[in-house]
Symmetry: C2
């Protein structure tokens, strides 16, 4: 997506060889007009898949996922990184290891909001090692939902996420793909 | 806001005397069309305040805050509950005690995205004890920004948040006010 790639080139900052800082328009400060365009782009790609629900993982994927759900005219479902105190006995969890943050968490979903009639897309801000996305897939499928595709704002193609997820047969649509981060330079 | 109040009456669940569960349309599953209407409602109320930025706290306020920022045509700024590994030395923090969750966290903002020319509204899903909102006000004002008002989706009026914040002179606009939660009943 041309406009996103230009934003990354202009405002993204490479930290070391692994981290891309985009907190001026995606992760901390959010360019909501760009999010709206991102929502339209995911809509165009997934509109013929009979999507019934958009799933994301808190919290940086919420803004683009909200816009995508609005375009598709379906509810958004936000997976939690721990059980909220409002959830009683109706949830399931899966452990996700975050390589980027060096920790792990319990990705949590209520059983009530995915059922075997659901066709789901997962929307997230980044794809790196793919672990959070694979965790979301496990939860959705355990509840009988079908994952029709994955929409990623920025993919770090030098990390193994895409390969792990494609090997399992899922379609990934990334709006920007980063080939390499090196010496403060971003290679697309 | 009539439509929101009807949603709460129909789908909200009172847990004990303090917790209102609205995870079917606001906190876990999100009714994005309702969020769009909420954004329009906040826009109507705050549109003459020369707002330059919408601020929210991760993560349940992000969807309604995104819609509000879109209506106002300004950026959204998402305050973090801990320092992301992409933030280096350009941030400030304040400790917030969460009575609802029984823990505390370091509310975090980058110095780069608020300056003395900013007129800010804070948008959040719930107002209960007001501590997270007061934390957000501290951070914004420490960077010189002016808080022009606070937009709340659901206010628990039986808890002290509104009083604490109004005492300091801020304008709070709540779209639904819960008077009492008792024996599974929601009183508006």
């Amino acid at each position: 997506m041309k406009e996103l790639i230009e934003e990354i080139k202009e405002k993204g900052i490479a930290i070391g060889n692994e981290i891309l800082k985009v907190d001026s328009f995606l992760n901390h400060q959010v360019d909501v007009k760009l999010m709206k365009k991102i929502g339209k782009e995911f809509f165009e790609y997934f509109k013929n898949k009979n999507i019934t629900k958009v799933v994301t993982i808190e919290s940086s994927g919420i803004a683009p996922a909200t816009m995508t759900a609005l375009e598709l005219d379906v509810p958004l479902l936000i997976l939690k990184k721990k059980k909220p105190n409002t959830m009683e006995d109706e949830f399931i969890q899966t452990t996700v290891k975050s390589f980027t943050k060096g920790n792990e968490y319990k990705l949590t979903i209520s059983k009530k909001y995915i059922n075997p009639n659901d066709n789901v897309i997962i929307i997230d801000d980044f794809l790196a090692n793919g672990e959070s996305c694979l965790g979301a897939i496990r939860l959705i499928e355990e509840l009988g939902g079908k994952v029709q595709g994955i929409g990623i704002v920025i993919e770090k193609s030098f990390q193994p996420g895409r390969e792990k997820i494609e090997k399992r047969g899922y379609d990934i649509y990334s709006l920007a793909r980063i080939k390499k981060l090196e010496n403060g330079k971003i290679e697309m």
